[in-house]
């Protein structure tokens, strides 16, 4: 992370303030989460969804929120069109029939992952409503008509740049970085 082409846009503190704000927005809309489930998209969305799930439980211990982790590999539209897709595990201990589902991912870019996520979700029932929560919304890069309901921050990037989100549970140092194409991840 030391190259000059890397720009840090979130530090640890800002990240945790933002996650707190997203949690309060969810609480505002879903009360005690009686009919709501939060579903993180594998692989990187689950770290954010676990964090949000824990934080909501801390803020409101009576929240009836359920947490699931969804792998979308088999539903991608770029199978055989790019490098190998390695599936992760799916942990869904409930069905989503008639529930409000909050899909969680770290970065919203083209929207194709979310499309696949909605498809994968339907294997677990017909949800009443599906909402989308992302930490970073990359503007002007959508290839499908998809928009987030809850956003950590919207940022302007060019397509060749990458956005990297690190959360404590995996990588130690929390933060969000924009990385230009010349630098190595």
């Amino acid at each position: 992370m030391s190259t000059a082409l890397t720009k840090r846009i979130f530090d640890k503190e800002l990240l945790s303030i933002t996650i707190d704000r997203l949690c309060y927005q969810l609480i505002e809309n879903h009360d005690n989460f009686h009919d709501a489930v939060i579903v993180g998209l594998q692989p990187r969305g689950v770290y954010l969804s676990r964090r949000i799930y824990q934080r909501i439980k801390e803020i409101n211990p009576k929240a009836e929120l359920k947490h699931g982790e969804l792998d979308i590999s088999f539903f991608r539209d770029d199978f055989r069109r790019r490098e190998m897709i390695v599936p992760s595990s799916t942990n869904m201990e409930f069905i989503v029939e008639d529930k409000d589902v909050i899909l969680v991912d770290d970065v919203l870019f083209t929207g194709r992952t979310i499309r696949a996520g909605m498809d994968a979700l339907m294997a677990f029932g017909r949800p009443k409503k599906v909402e989308l929560l992302v930490l970073i919304n990359r503007k002007f890069s959508r290839q499908l008509p998809i928009a987030p309901d809850y956003t950590g921050q919207s940022i302007d990037t060019v397509t060749s740049e990458k956005v990297k989100v690190q959360l404590q549970s995996t990588d130690g140092d929390d933060g969000v970085w924009i990385i230009s194409s010349d630098s190595k991840l």
């Binding site: 088999f74 539903f75 055989r80 599936p87 595990s89 069905i95 339907m122 294997a123 677990f124």
Partner: protein, 308 residues
């Protein structure tokens, strides 16, 4: 962990690396999850057409492959030798090329001649999956057997597996030996001397002619079917005698010093290789093998499709 198979075709376990087998197992774990959901289908192979070409009878394997293909959303065409142009004298290559001319991407083939799948893979453009070639190999059966052992006992490495029965004519036995050895298991074969190939010990397996001794040694017993259709001469006096010497019954099973796992690749000749009460006992994982067969075959097709 490697992320791509080292091969473009699944012709035999002999060509696979240990990493390939582990990749297939890890992918199959995901598919086992999928086929236990309310909606058992994923769209991964929706732009792929698979031809199931069976020159020899099959129920389980064929059904299992067809289900695996359908649950991956592939388009499926079925072909069996009876009632086809093969009986009019068409060659294998011509038959398959005609099917490929209809834009087929993958071929799953069973054939009575050893090496038929290898021959096919050299001459056509599609991915070939060997669903059994004569007495040579039956790779997906070996994969699902090892996958079932891994599921039941936690791992395959270090486990002792005895394969009982007609080793000479069994493609399941040969593929199983390759697969289990690659995963670090100890393998023994057991059967009458006439049904054990002469140089089998070259494959680094133990040979035992006494069933009881073999069972006392093992963690897992894989009981093979006696393949009367492949036996052109008599290899043992009678089925009754075979069953007395090499049949597994409840009494033998209950008197063993430890609880072993009983497997059978099917179809079972009840009362010959194993008795009904053994086949239906809680130590038997025969039906788990069938369930795992679909998941393992989905994994194989999914991974091969990505090498195209």
């Amino acid at each position: 962990m490697s992320q791509q198979l080292s091969v473009q075709h699944l012709l035999g376990i002999k060509d696979l690396t240990k990493e390939d087998i582990e990749l297939i197992f890890n992918t199959a774990d995901n598919f086992k999850d999928v086929i236990n959901r309310p909606i058992k289908k994923v769209p991964s192979l929706r732009d792929i057409t698979v031809a199931n070409i069976f020159f020899e009878n099959s129920t389980r394997t064929r059904l299992s492959f067809e289900l695996a293909e359908k649950r991956l959303s592939a388009d499926v065409v079925n072909f069996s030798a009876s009632g086809s142009s093969v009986s009019k004298g068409e060659t294998l290559i011509d038959t398959v090329n005609n099917i490929l001319a209809m834009k087929v991407d993958m071929v799953v083939m069973r054939h009575p001649k050893p090496g038929a799948a290898v021959f096919l893979a050299k001459h056509i453009q599609a991915n070939v999956v060997n669903a059994g070639d004569g007495t040579h190999e039956h790779p997906t059966q070996a994969l699902l057997d090892a996958f079932s052992i891994r599921e039941k006992l936690g791992s395959v490495e270090g486990k002792k597996v005895v394969i009982v029965g007609d080793i000479l004519h069994s493609r399941v036995a040969l593929s199983n030996i390759f697969c289990l050895k690659k995963l670090g298991a100890e393998v023994m074969v057991c059967g009458p001397a006439t049904l054990i190939p002469r140089y089998i010990s070259e494959l680094d397996v133990k040979v035992e002619h006494n069933l009881l001794k073999a069972l006392e040694w093992c963690d897992v017993a894989n009981m093979l079917r006696i393949q009367l259709e492949r036996q052109d001469i008599k290899y043992f006096p009678s089925l009754r005698e075979y069953s007395m010497m090499y049949g597994l019954n409840k009494e033998i099973l209950d008197n063993l010093p430890k609880e072993i796992v009983v497997m059978h690749p099917g179809p079972i000749n009840r009362g010959v290789e194993i008795t009904s009460d053994v086949a239906d006992s809680k130590q038997s994982i025969i039906l788990d093998q069938v369930e795992n067969g679909v998941a393992v075959r989905m994994a194989v097709l999914y991974l091969l499709a990505q090498t195209r």
